[in-house]
Subunit: 198 residues, 2 copies
Amino acid sequence: MRKLVIASRNKGKISELKELLKEYNFEILSLDDYPEIPEIKETGKSFKENALIKARIAAQETGCLALADDSGLEVDALGGAPGIYSSRFAGPNKDDEANNKKLLELLEGVPFDKRTARFRCVVAAVDPQGIEITTEGVCEGKIGFEPKGSFGFGYDPIFIVDGYGLTMAELKPEIKNRISHRAKAFKKIAAVLKGLLD
Amino acid sequence: MRKLVIASRNKGKISELKELLKEYNFEILSLDDYPEIPEIKETGKSFKENALIKARIAAQETGCLALADDSGLEVDALGGAPGIYSSRFAGPNKDDEANNKKLLELLEGVPFDKRTARFRCVVAAVDPQGIEITTEGVCEGKIGFEPKGSFGFGYDPIFIVDGYGLTMAELKPEIKNRISHRAKAFKKIAAVLKGLLD
């Protein structure tokens, strides 16, 4: 069975990916299976660069096909911020609540129709034999005026999904897992990876 | 049938690719079918960047899956030159003969075991729906002391292929088409593209 290393130590992400890739004939590993590999720094200038940096290092260090993702929120009224800094928007040791608070404060006085935003996810797959693949998924919406809902994480409570009128945190996981930026990007890469298995 | 646009107007390259992709269910077009698209400049700093630039523009302009390649010769004793400048090494209006002559002159006095080199090819496929794929193929060899053979083109007459003891221009096309950098890169991308067809 072909090995696939997920370039992450995040247990939630690893189990989500195992679920998504279960129909394919991969033996799925993660960086937890390679404790000697140090933490990979996201030094890129875009989601794509960050995802490729992580997947390239994991592929090089393990000799296996490796998969990595990077994602975040782009708010048009803030010129695309927080973007690649989404998880550390309010500072390196802050949490989701601090990030959401900072974003709502920056958007004070901005009317609803100008609060357009999107979640973007890029997934990269790197095969040490000289193959690189990136796929992108986008979920469009608007930033609300207060947090709502208790599912999900990150900016989900203040991100109102286009066509649903609910925040991402109010959507049931089975709906989120179908329409999210991450789901779209991973579905595309799974289709492409299938070709590599034959 | 799914459309695939080859980001080239080079008739030889287009027919070679049609041959390679004939087992897949693509309707193959090229930039000859889109005369309104201007010539795409190769402004990248690597084969990969150049191939991606061409495939991205073709995908954007046509709305179709697009394929492009870039390739060249890397000579170790020259720090990787001519690299992305392979086709214009001796100047913008020079030909293969002038390029080969310049390379042999630059390597004067360099002994055979220090004349290691490789042909490298990167192929990029870009789907306007947010998928980018690159594959790489490499063919290792050494630069000879004089041109030999009459098949092929470019640096083929002075590139002695590892394991064959013959220049690329002395190898029969059916052998070259199996072991060349270009063949290896295209075989890999064909495998990946198969996944996109289902």
